[in-house]
């Protein structure tokens, strides 16, 4: 792990780092990733579940309904004319 990699990952994750943070996380991540190397010697079993239990795809009936009032949902949001305000796209 090096500071440049930490900065690249942070940019991807939308996190701005000060120089002090970049140095600190670089050391922490280096220590933690070294510890992860223990996985290399772990036994294998050929199975890779996504969940710890078996999960079946169960879908509910497609019944149209209004679950939440739109104005209530927008109550805490920064809006104008019932649109959510956001930053510029370009």
């Amino acid at each position: 792990m090096d500071v440049k990699t930490v900065r690249d990952v942070a940019k991807f994750a939308h996190i701005a780092l000060t120089d002090e943070e970049a140095e600190r996380y670089c050391k922490d991540l280096g220590d933690i990733l070294s510890y992860f190397e223990l996985l290399n010697e772990a036994p294998e079993c050929g199975e890779r579940g996504v969940n710890p239990i078996l999960v079946e795809d169960i879908v509910r009936d497609d019944v149209p309904k209004v679950e939440f009032d739109a104005d209530e949902l927008l109550r805490d949001m920064d809006t104008y004319d019932r649109y959510v305000r956001g930053p510029r796209l370009s």
Binding site: T5, V6, V9, A10, F12, A13, H14, I15, A16, L17, E21, Y25, D28, L29, D31, I32, L33, Y35, F36, L38, L39, N40, A42, P43, E44, C45, G46, E47, R48, G49, V50, N51, P52, I53, L54, V55, E56, D57, I58, R60, F68, D69, E72, L73, R75, D76, M77, D78, V84, R85, G86, P87, R88, L89, S90
Partner: protein
């Protein structure tokens, strides 16, 4: 302590222990049948929900989490939302964007994490049940440090609808209380299928009939690295279990040492994707500079309001999912999860539960926690992580006290969907265990 007097004293209790981030303003219990609190990562319609994170300040959900709505329907009154590590990222509840709960037995020590405020409330307030959430040990760890009972049920037993996700394949909602008998009583209310959470839909019936625990297996890997005092208290507790008619065997579970790195790969990978939604729009803080381009706006808000540990786990999880590294470790971590499950299944074919101390030490002092590195703090979870990665139900009971009077806990782990045997052993244990309530003065 009547429910009305609890309501009247709530603010004074909180001033001393800081278990609640948000509290009810009511000074009477009204016609409530019982009072409860909930970890602040469970959405509640009438109380702000922040999950311990400043990025969610001002978020008022428009719906109750399924577990909260079920308790309200049963006559429960939600009295407060409890302090926690930000999004559940921690072992001591010190990684909070807000208040840090204080241990009821020594205010200079931590409550454990990440459901620290919940365990604190359950320990301090009489006849109080608190909802906790466990991803890697966040119910049993604080239950152990605060001298109370806590259960994290099988993954999928309680609907996660309304839970602010940390790691979707790991999160479990459970119950913390002073009384072992409360665990079954309240779990029965919140368990069950919910079409809003597909992972809850495959569960078999929730069994509540008494089923005596006849045998436990103690993994050699679960009694390594303990403090001398925890080791001694646990040894006495095992003798006590034997006298209750429980057979005790010592076994090898070699997979347990790989559970920790696998857990942190899976948990941070899932967390880093879950937290991508917090960008200063729709929830919480939204006062960023809208003249910025969206990438810069998101970065500004996230950098300002995420705490130190949240940033660390986002970076770790983002890196773990990246091409190259991810191919090596993420796939292997998923396989290790299955190896750990297989190891539990093998041992539980011939035993009712796997037993070990819940935590390797008693609640540490805040000044000692501040000196721990991130990795040292992660490694403190080595006893609670295996059952969490396996999704197996686990229950912590208070089993003694160290020379400073701090509680020690031990944790039983049963096979998937076998919560009944855990309730039974906890209730049997409670009948003979001399629980020392913390001295409380407000």
């Amino acid at each position: 302590m009547s429910m009305d007097s609890v309501m009247k004293d709530l603010k004074a209790i909180n001033a001393k222990y800081q278990m609640f981030h948000t509290m009810s303003d009511d000074i009477s219990a009204g016609d409530a049948k019982f009072l409860f609190s909930a970890k602040d990562n469970l959405t509640s319609k009438d109380m702000e929900t922040c999950a311990g994170s400043r990025i969610l300040e001002g978020y008022h959900p428009v719906f109750d989490a399924t577990c909260i709505s079920k308790l309200r329907e049963a006559g429960g009154k939600l009295v407060g939302k409890t302090n926690m590590d930000e999004f559940g990222f921690g072992t001591f509840s010190t990684n909070s964007g807000f208040e840090v709960p204080r241990n009821p037995y020594d205010l200079n020590r931590a409550c454990g994490g990440s459901s620290g405020g919940s365990a604190c409330a359950a320990s301090v307030i009489e006849d109080h049940m608190s909802l906790g959430v466990s991803t890697g040990g966040s119910i049993c760890c604080p239950a152990s440090f605060c001298g109370v009972y806590g259960i994290a049920p099988t993954y999928g037993r309680v609907s996660r609808y309304g839970l602010i996700d940390y790691g979707n394949s790991l999160d479990k909602i459970g119950v913390i209380s002073q009384k072992a008998t409360d665990l079954k009583k309240y779990m029965e209310m919140i368990a069950g299928k919910d079409e809003k959470d597909p992972t809850s839909m495959v569960q078999p019936d929730f069994k509540t009939a008494y089923r005596k625990m006849r045998s436990v297996a103690i993994p050699k890997e679960g009694i390594e690295g303990l403090s001398k005092e925890v080791e001694a208290v646990f040894k006495d507790a095992v003798e006590q279990l034997k006298s209750m008619g429980v057979d005790v065997d010592y076994v090898d579970m070699p997979s347990l040492k790989y559970a920790m790195p696998a857990y942190y790969v899976l948990a941070t990978s899932e967390a880093s994707t879950n937290l991508a939604r917090y960008v200063g729009m729709r929830y919480g803080h939204q006062e960023g500079d809208h003249s910025l381009k969206f990438d810069d706006y998101f970065t500004e808000v996230r950098s300002k309001y995420f705490g130190d540990e949240a940033k660390r786990r986002i970076l770790l999880g983002t890196y773990a999912r990246m091409a190259g590294f991810g191919g090596r470790h993420y796939a292997k971590a998923r396989e290790v999860r299955q190896v750990v499950i297989n190891d539990y299944k093998r041992v539980l074919e011939t035993h009712d539960a796997v037993l070990a101390p819940t935590m390797p030490f008693t609640a540490p002092r805040f000044d000692d926690i501040s000196k721990m590195s991130a990795l040292e703090s992660y490694k403190a979870d080595y006893l609670t992580v295996p059952a969490n990665i396996a999704g197996t139900p686990h229950l912590s009971v208070p089993c003694g006290y160290d020379s400073n009077g701090m509680p020690v806990g031990m944790q039983f782990v049963a096979d998937h969907w076998n919560e009944d045997v855990l309730f039974s052993v906890a209730e049997d244990w409670e009948k003979q265990f001399d629980l020392r309530r913390p001295e409380m003065s407000i």
